[in-house]
Symmetry: C2
Subunit: 260 residues, 2 copies
């Protein structure tokens, strides 16, 4: 299939590479063209705008930083994806973005005869590289079925959660959990350290039981060994939680950080 | 070995039963004598006070509710465990109690020629029944080695974490994590429900990835199926977190709940 790829950061570069490795033809775009070099070496073609990507592709993937980036890249009247996509073409936005924007893109796509899927991921740079991402999708079943073989090149827990925006809502659930779990890991390990305990022994004592989490058994272990190399940008987590709080507000739901 | 058992609540009754099943002679005490009936049916003897339990035992286990209960049951000059234990006898306090009290009991035991271990557990009523508890111990290595075969009748992740109080400190790390993870589960599932998502599908989408936790994959699944049967008393969690906050305060450590 002819795929388009927009956004080749720490996640996107690996995800696109999996598609090329499975024999798909890729056209790529990045605001920083130099970042595309590793994909061009694999045979991808370089486009000069999101619109040019869309013109050359059946399915266009976007993995950019913020909802504003998604809006610009997709909807810009001169240079956006929707300005170049042929009727029946599909946009898959894998950015962690707002459910509200996903619903808006879904409605706009219906008007123009496109398919759209919101499909944010979980698993970080490690999962992107290994092709083991969890992918949470929102959109029409027919669009999901068209794109599923492509998504399965990048992840192994690929699920359609409901209509447009459902993937983003599910990702919010994921981020609420991930953030809470990390608060627990940090407070627990700080307490252990101050109490004079062997932090690695504490992780072994508590990590396999009812207090265990992926965060403790992976990130906690990194912290304990003083490995502070980042696998995700904290600004992105802050952005994600801001989206979650805004969406919760809109649903009349008061989450902890607001309740205090 | 002649074991003594004080406290036959939702945890203690199962833990003591495992010792009897492995052939140990048990003498038991509860403020509510009727609660001992299932253990007496298994061959345990009933004592009229903690002191009488200690007189009949080489190793006395306590699993009561609060640090004040521990203090009364162990240190009461007329009826306490220490009033009845012979020299060389051992007390194993499996209550989740304060590290400070554990240190105090350790010092008192040295003066009197007893061994003492603080050995709180994780795994809930299910783990107590199945004999799969995690047991976090603080005390002298020789005492730990004496008691280890008994502890291994009740649990499978039994660790000596350091001197007196280290088991309780490790349990605090466990409870800080468990509570944070549960906040994450509740907020995440509330968000999912309000957003109109299928809550069980969300758990499948996020529970196996980087946001996963024992709490989500066990308690979250229970919540999603509307199974609200309790496995632990919320008052006990509140007590545990109060201890954690007091101990953190004493260590000059500001945890989240205090920082707000």
């Amino acid at each position: 299939m002819r795929v388009g790829w927009i956004g080749v950061g720490v996640m996107g570069r690996h995800m696109c590479a999996h598609l090329i490795d499975r024999g798909h033809t890729a056209t790529v775009f990045s605001r920083t063209a130099a970042k595309c070099a590793p994909l061009l070496d694999k045979g991808a073609m370089l486009a000069t705008s999101p619109r040019e990507v869309a013109r050359a592709s059946d399915v266009v993937f976007t993995v950019v930083s913020t909802p504003d980036d998604v809006r610009r890249v997709v909807l810009d009247p001169a240079d956006g994806v929707f300005a170049g996509l042929r009727e029946g073409g599909v946009l898959v936005d894998m950015t962690t973005s707002t459910p509200t924007l996903a619903v808006e893109l879904g409605a706009e796509a219906v008007r123009r005869g496109f398919g759209v899927l919101d499909a944010p991921v979980s698993g970080g740079d490690v999962g992107a590289k290994a092709g083991t991402l969890s992918i949470m999708c929102g959109g029409e079943l027919t669009t999901f079925e068209t794109v599923l073989p492509l998504l399965e090149c990048m992840g192994r827990n690929v699920r359609l959660m409901g209509g447009a925006g459902s993937g983003q809502h599910t990702k919010m659930c994921n981020q609420i959990l991930a953030a809470s779990n990390m608060v627990g890991v940090c407070e627990s390990l700080l307490y252990a350290h101050r109490a004079g305990l062997d932090v690695e022994a504490v992780i072994k004592a508590v990590g396999a039981g009812a207090a265990g989490s992926w965060a403790m058994n992976n990130l906690g272990v990194k912290v304990a060994s003083r490995d502070l190399a980042p696998g995700f940008m904290i600004e992105h987590m802050v952005k994600d939680l801001r989206i979650a709080l805004r969406e919760a507000d809109a649903m009349g739901l008061q989450l902890q950080a607001r309740g205090r």
